[in-house]
Structure formats: structure tokens, C-alpha cells
């Protein structure tokens, strides 16, 4: 077999294998209902928008991936020494070079700019219905609902998921007791590092009830892999029932902090804020 033929076979084999890998990944994510895939199963408006923005950005930028690859393929086919025995002589073209500097710069700045509004929304919850404090420990997360006087520990087994109400704006304050962690539930489109001595913020509103999975996303030691997060999104009534089970004296005053900035949400958790000041 000639080298040339062999190379063609290998190229085809490599392409098929890649396609297989992609199909494999797709199959995986489709098989299970409560998968964490944040592109295919966004559960919050933010996650949905992240996905949509990702698609738009991909389409805008796609020429910069496929353009060079197609041109490369064409060059390899067209300009082999066999097909093109005499090389061309040119070695610069100023208008072309200026063009491929300015056009990508404009496109890239454009894709950055269209991502800014979403980033701003990401940082600023529109309102706060439920305040939730999360603390990362080695190797589990504990939660606190300061308004209801309820604390909860998610041991990462899936038996004690955090319970939050559907359709409500949940604003989160995060801190860490020992080392850095990150709270990540992919389907919510939310991830924030929790760092000792600092308070992090996040928020989400999930409309679809169900069990959502996440996990710690910052190396935190030997138990990093088992630091799993389970969030059960239930109806408001069920949530209240769960809270009352934990603390029969909890009062639901139904006040909503309108236009809650993350600082306002933090003010709902004075004890954490104090810790940061210390």
C-alpha cells in the first residue's frame, strides 16, 4: 500500500472516529432525564439565554473555524508539489493583511459586546424572593435560609437534596469555611467560586420542577470528586411544607425584595456579612 493511500484511509478513519465520539456524547446526554447538560437542557431563563447566546456566537464565529480549515484542506489538495510544481512568488499583500486584522477585530468586539447585557443580568438579580446562603466545606455544602431560620446539609448522596421553590427568584450568598470551592449547577447556568474570607453571589429562578445535579467545580482536596450537589425544585406549597418540617416556627411574610442588587441580598444575611468584615 502506498503511503498516500494509507494516509487517505487514516484520514477517513480519524474523521469517522471523531464523528462517532460526537454521536456518543449526544447519545449519552439524551438517555437520562435529569442530566446536567447545560446546552441541551437549560432550566433557568439565564441558562436558556446563555445557550442562545452560545448558538449565536458560534454562528457568528463559525467562519473563523471552518474558513481556515477548508482553505487548509484546499491548499493541501491543490498546491501539492505534484499538482503545482512551480511555487508562486508573492510574499505580502498589505490590503489583505489589513483586512484580516480589522474584520476579525470588529467581529470579535461585536461578539463581546452582545454578551455584555447578559453578563450584567447575570450579576444583578431582578428581585429576591428567597435568600439562600451556601457554605462550602470539605467536602459538602451546607445551606441556610436566613428568613426561615432553616439550615440544611446536602451530603452529596442525593438523599438530602437542597429544596427550592419553582418560579421564585432565589438569591444566593456563598462562602467557604476552609478552602476554595465552586457552586455549580449546570442546568441553572450558574457557577460561582466560594473563597474563604469573601462572599460570592449568584441567583437563579427555575420554572421546571425536578431534581437537578451539580458539583463542586474548584479543586478542594481529596474529596473534590464526591462533593456533589443535588437541588430539588418543587412547588411553592411543597417548599413551605419542607421548611416547616425543618422549622415549625418559620414565618412566610411573602415580602419580595424588589430590584434586589446582590448587596441588598447580602444584607439579608447579616451574620455572613459580619464575618467578612471581621
Amino acid at each position: 500500500m502506498t503511503t498516500r493511500k494509507l494516509n487517505r484511509i487514516l484520514l477517513v478513519a480519524a474523521t469517522l472516529l471523531l464523528a462517532g465520539a460526537v454521536a456518543y456524547a449526544q447519545r449519552d446526554s439524551r438517555g437520562l432525564p435529569d442530566i446536567t447538560n447545560w446546552i441541551q437542557d437549560p432550566a433557568t431563563p439565564i441558562a436558556q439565554d446563555v445557550r442562545d447566546l452560545g448558538v449565536v456566537t458560534s454562528l457568528v464565529l463559525a467562519p473563523f473555524l471552518f474558513g481556515p480549515l477548508i482553505v487548509l484542506g484546499y491548499i493541501v489538495w491543490r498546491f501539492s508539489s505534484k499538482r503545482n510544481p512551480v511555487p508562486a512568488k508573492f510574499h505580502d499583500n498589505v490590503p489583505l493583511e489589513v483586512g484580516w486584522t480589522i474584520v476579525p477585530a470588529m467581529v470579535l468586539v461585536f461578539t463581546a459586546l452582545i454578551s455584555y447585557p447578559l453578563s450584567t443580568r447575570f450579576d444583578n438579580p431582578p428581585q429576591s424572593d428567597v435568600v439562600l446562603n451556601v457554605t462550602g466545606h470539605q467536602f459538602y455544602f451546607t445551606y441556610e435560609f436566613p428568613r426561615y431560620g432553616v439550615t440544611h446539609t446536602d451530603d452529596g448522596t442525593g438523599n438530602n437534596p437542597l429544596v427550592v421553590p419553582a418560579g421564585k427568584y432565589v438569591t444566593m450568598n456563598g462562602q467557604a469555611s476552609q478552602v476554595n470551592h465552586a457552586w455549580w449547577v449546570p442546568a441553572f447556568g450558574i457557577k460561582f467560586d466560594v473563597i474563604p474570607g469573601r462572599i460570592s453571589h449568584g441567583w437563579f429562578k427555575v420554572d421546571r420542577e425536578g431534581l437537578y445535579k451539580g458539583q463542586c467545580a474548584e479543586l478542594c482536596g481529596t474529596g473534590h470528586a464526591i462533593m456533589l450537589i443535588y437541588v430539588k425544585v418543587v412547588s411553592d406549597e411543597e417548599f413551605k411544607k419542607w421548611i416547616l418540617e425543618k422549622n415549625p416556627e418559620a414565618v412566610f411574610d411573602e415580602t419580595t425584595v424588589a430590584d434586589a442588587s446582590t448587596t441588598a441580598a447580602a444584607a439579608q444575611a447579616p451574620e455572613i456579612a459580619m464575618e467578612a468584615v471581621k
Partner: protein
């Protein structure tokens, strides 16, 4: 531009040179192992750097094997303990970055920068040797740290996890000292390169007559010189926190763990460019050589490398988007990261224009260079998504990032190192590596790297976090699939090493001064001396007119 070789300093050259064999009027040339241990010749030092990178590549590869082995275990089963897994994750990165990529580029840089600018040696030959030998205690410290539990805090070593409370073992201190020594080695090398390039160019060689590989090394050296001391500072602060109870990164004492992340990434983002810029330079040489053309847009390439160097210092925050950075700062880092793709794009487009209209000879070096364009473009493209603020919040610390930087570091840096090796091996050793074996090395490596790293994009999007020892059941199948790709890269590595050993031990030195027959078009100085070059590099002094 035309280079003439003046007839001053004409010396008779022996038929066959021992490469770099030192001669001096007073002492007989050293032979055997002493020649290597005592040399200050830039070529011998360069070769030693390359050997170190090659050997360490297998060490780092074995560590990757341990990682992939654990990740392909059926759900709930354990091949290695989480402690050992974290050590493997930390050391795989440390070894690959500090003992493979940086030494490999330093090796080719040491060997070819003086040749390309027509210098007799580096500006400070003894310091050059010192810089290499610093890597040995550095490696010894890092590897013996395994006896004391090594470091499980990742190569990033974020405190408080890397602090004395959560990583009390002395292995972390040894790792830090090892990194310090590697850093000193890098800085000494950088000073040497800058001085050499600034002062020792052949008479008449202007800045813009310098080949791109030398340009890349010049910019690279500045990045090392500016960045590495910051890393050294951060590591020293970490060390005093650990050993003397200072509180730079300890919130209980008024410190801030986030400060470390800023300092660390201020070095470690430019470090990413440190680990690829020389490859950029060499790829330009290789593409132009085997397309039979001159490099397209030479000046644009120089400006692009310089812009990458400058912007490289303004994007470190994109590693920390999930750390509650101020919104305006996030936006600044996002747009800077987008903009750094512009000079990178210029490079890719110029490479394509370089080979456009060429008459391409598909040597192994050229195959690796062409493969580099493809895989590096994919790696750069996924980087754009890591600059997209809402997207990156999801992608950061997931396998998407692992896929991205392996496409850049393996699909970019390692591919360029393979290309450089095949391209310059005949010059360095006087012997040709086997093109037949090279074909297998290329395809095996190309398939292996895409097989392994491409599906990782999906794994990240699926929601699998980085640096985890075990994972949810739904990720098992795809991870086992990914691990198969490892073997293709392993086969490529073994074939590559085997061919190098066979070539050195068995083949005669047959390479002419211009082994690829490219210099009529390229007109660079590396092809104007014997293969391998004499200790004094050039029998006649090159002169630019």
C-alpha cells in the same frame, strides 16, 4: 537581503565533527560524558534540553496514563486513590509545562537562535549551562516530593488548599522550591536570549532581517523576564505563609486567597504564550520551506507576535471569571481576550497565505506543521468561547477548559515541537529521521490527540468538572472512549523515541549543509553551515548586505 560569507576567520574544518566538541589551544577536547557535563556550547546545551524534554514527555505521559486509567474505571471503582490522583493531576501539569514544553523550546532556541542570527554562541555561555543544570535539581525536588506526599493542590496551587493547614506535607514545599529553580532557569535563559539577539546578530543584520524563530524567542524572553518574577513572588509568599506563618493569603490574618490567583495568573497566562510562541516562529520556517515560498507577511507576523506578547499580560483575569470579579473588570478581560485572537488570527491567515500557491512537499515536518494549523485553530476557536462572559461562567473549571488548553498545548505546542524535531534533526545530528516511521508518528499522534481531546468539549458541556477522580455514572462511557485515544499518542511517542535512538545509533551522518534543499528560497543562516555545525558554528563570518 543577501547574505555573504566573508572569508575572515576561515578555518579548516575536519571531515566529521563531534557536534559541539569543544576545542581550545591549551586543553584537549573532552570526550564522552565529560563533554556533556562540562560544556558551555549552546548546541550541546540545546541538545540536552531537548533530551530532557523528550524523557520528561514520557514521565508526564505516564502520569496522564494514570489519570486516564482512573477515569476509565467502571462507575464506583478505584484504580488509584484520590490522593494519588490529585498528585498525578498536579504533577502531570507541572512536568508537562516546566520540563517538557519550556525545555523543548529552550532547547531548539538555544541551538538555533545563535545559528539563525549568525552568532558564535549565546552571549553568556556559562550562564547558559547554569540555566540548564538548574533544571536538574528542580526536577529532583519535584520528583522526590513524591516520597513525602507531593502536592495535591493542582499545578495552580491555590491557597488555602495549598497552605500549611490543608496540605501539611513537605512535598508541597519541595514542589514550590522546584518551581522556583525552574523559574530561575527560565529567567537566566531569557536574559541570555535577549542579550544575544540584541548584540550578537551577524554584522549588518537588521532587526527586520531576523528570522521569525529568533523574533519569537525575543518576544518570548521578554514575557519570561516580566512574568516569571511575579510567579516567584507569589510562590515565595505562599512559602512564607506555609513555613513562617505569614498571612498573605490567609483570611484569618487579613490576607486574601484571591490575591494569589491574580499573581499566579499574571505569570501563568503569559506562560501559555511562552509555551507556544517559539513554536509559532518555527512553524513559519517549516511551512515556507516546504512550500518553496517565502514567509507571507513577515512584518505582520513580527507585529502579531509582539501584540500577542503585550496583550498576553492583559488577559489573566479570564482564568478567574467565577471569582466575583467586578463587572467592569470582567468586561475588560473579556474584550482583551477577544482581541488577543486578532494577532493569533493574523498568524493563522498568514500561514495559510504562506503555503497558498506553494509547491508543497509532504515531509513529516510539513505534515506536523499542517496538522498544527488545524489543531491550533480548533484550540484557538474554543478559546473565543472562553472569552464570552456568560458562556465561560459555565465552561470554566469544566472539561471544556481541559479540551481547550490541550488543543493549544498538545495540538499547538507539542505538534510544533514534533515539526521542529523532524525539520532540524538533520541539522543537529547530521542524520535524517525516517520519513516512513515519521508518517506513522504523525497519523498516530494526530488521531490520538483528536480522539482524546475533542470529545472533552462535550464532556464539559455535559457538566463534568475538572480534576475529579470519579464522576457520575452518565460520564463513564464517554470517558472510556476518550481513554482509548491515549494509546494512539503513546504509540506515536514510542515510535518517535525509537526512531530517534535508531537514527542516532545506527545511521551514518549523511545530511548536507542544507538537508531539505530549501535555502535557495529561504536564505537563512542555519542552512549555511555543516550538519551538525562545527563548535564555532560558521567557518566564515556571515555578513548582511
Amino acid at each position: 537581503m543577501s547574505i555573504t560569507l566573508s572569508d575572515v576567520a576561515k578555518r579548516p574544518s575536519p571531515e566529521v565533527y563531534i557536534p559541539g566538541g569543544e576545542t581550545s589551544p591549551s586543553a584537549p577536547p573532552k570526550t564522552g560524558i565529560m563533554r556533556w557535563l562540562t560544556t558551555v556550547d549552546h548546541k550541546l546545551i540545546g541538545v540536552m534540553y531537548c533530551w530532557m524534554a523528550l524523557i520528561m514527555g514520557f514521565v508526564g505521559g505516564a502520569m496522564a496514563g494514570a489519570i486516564r486509567g482512573q477515569l476509565s474505571m467502571p462507575f464506583g471503582q478505584q484504580l488509584i486513590t484520590p490522593e494519588f490522583y490529585n498528585q498525578m493531576v498536579s504533577m502531570h501539569a507541572s512536568v508537562m509545562l516546566f520540563f517538557v514544553l519550556i525545555p523543548a523550546f529552550a532547547g531548539f532556541g538555544n541551538y538555533f537562535v545563535p545559528l539563525l542570527i549568525g552568532a558564535r554562541d549565546m552571549a553568556f555561555p556559562k550562564m547558559n549551562g547554569f540555566a540548564f543544570w538548574m533544571l536538574i535539581p528542580s526536577a529532583i525536588l519535584m520528583f522526590t516530593s513524591f516520597l513525602f506526599g507531593s502536592t495535591g493542590a493542582g499545578w495552580t496551587a491555590y491557597p488555602p488548599l495549598s497552605g500549611s493547614q490543608y496540605s501539611p506535607n513537605i512535598g508541597v514545599d519541595m514542589w514550590i522550591f522546584g518551581l522556583h529553580l525552574a523559574g530561575i532557569s527560565s529567567v537566566l535563559g531569557a536574559i541570555n536570549f535577549i542579550t544575544t539577539i540584541a548584540n550578537m546578530r551577524a554584522p549588518g543584520m537588521k532587526w527586520f532581517q531576523m528570522p521569525l524563530f529568533a523574533w519569537a524567542w525575543l518576544i518570548n524572553s521578554w514575557l519570561i523576564l516580566i512574568g516569571t518574577p511575579v510567579l516567584a513572588g507569589a510562590l515565595t509568599m505562599l512559602l512564607t505563609d506555609r513555613m513562617f506563618g505569614t498571612g498573605f493569603f490567609n483570611p484569618a490574618k487579613g490576607g486574601d486567597p484571591l490575591l494569589y490567583q491574580h499573581l499566579f495568573w499574571f505569570y501563568s497566562h503569559p506562560a501559555v504564550y511562552i509555551m507556544i510562541l517559539p513554536g509559532f516562529g518555527a512553524i513559519s520556517h517549516i511551512l515556507a520551506s516546504f512550500a518553496g515560498k517565502k514567509v507571507f507577511g513577515y512584518k505582520g507576523m513580527v507585529y502579531a507576535i509582539s501584540m500577542i506578547g503585550i496583550l498576553g499580560f492583559l488577559v489573566w483575569g479570564h482564568h478567574m471569571f467565577a471569582t466575583m470579579m467586578a463587572p467592569w473588570l470582567k468586561k475588560f478581560f473579556s474584550i482583551m481576550t477577544m482581541l488577543i485572537a486578532v494577532p493569533t488570527g493574523i498568524k493563522v491567515f498568514s500561514w495559510l497565505a504562506t503555503i497558498w500557491g506553494g509547491s508543497i512537499r509532504f515531509t513529516t515536518a510539513m505534515k506536523f506543521a499542517l496538522g498544527f494549523i488545524a489543531t491550533f485553530t480548533i484550540g484557538g476557536f474554543s478559546g473565543l468561547f472562553l472569552a464570552n462572559l456568560p458562556f465561560v461562567i459555565q465552561a470554566t473549571d469544566s472539561y471544556f477548559v481541559v479540551a481547550h488548553f490541550h488543543y493549544v498545548m498538545v495540538g499547538g505546542s507539542i505538534m510544533s515541537i514534533f515539526a521542529m524535531t523532524y525539520f532540524w534533526f538533520p541539522k543537529m545530528s547530521g542524520r535524517f529521521l525516517s520519513e516512513r516511521v515519521g508518517n506513522w508518528v504523525f497519523w498516530s499522534f494526530m488521531i490520538g490527540l483528536n480522539w482524546t481531546f475533542f470529545p472533552m468539549h462535550w464532556v464539559g458541556i455535559e457538566g463534568m468538572a475538572r480534576r475529579i477522580h470519579s464522576y457520575r455514572e452518565e460520564f463513564v462511557a464517554i470517558n472510556q472512549f476518550i481513554s482509548v485515544g491515549y494509546f494512539f499518542m503513546l504509540i506515536a511517542g514510542v515510535l518517535f523515541l525509537g526512531d530517534i535512538l535508531y537514527t542516532i545509533l545506527k545511521k551514518p551522518r549523511t545530511a548536507p549543509a542544507d538537508p531539505w534543499g530549501v535555502n535557495e528560497e529561504q536564505d537563512t543562516l542555519d542552512w549555511k553551515t555543516t550538519s551538525p555545525p562545527a563548535p564555532h558554528n560558521f567557518d566564515r563570518l556571515p555578513k548582511f548586505a
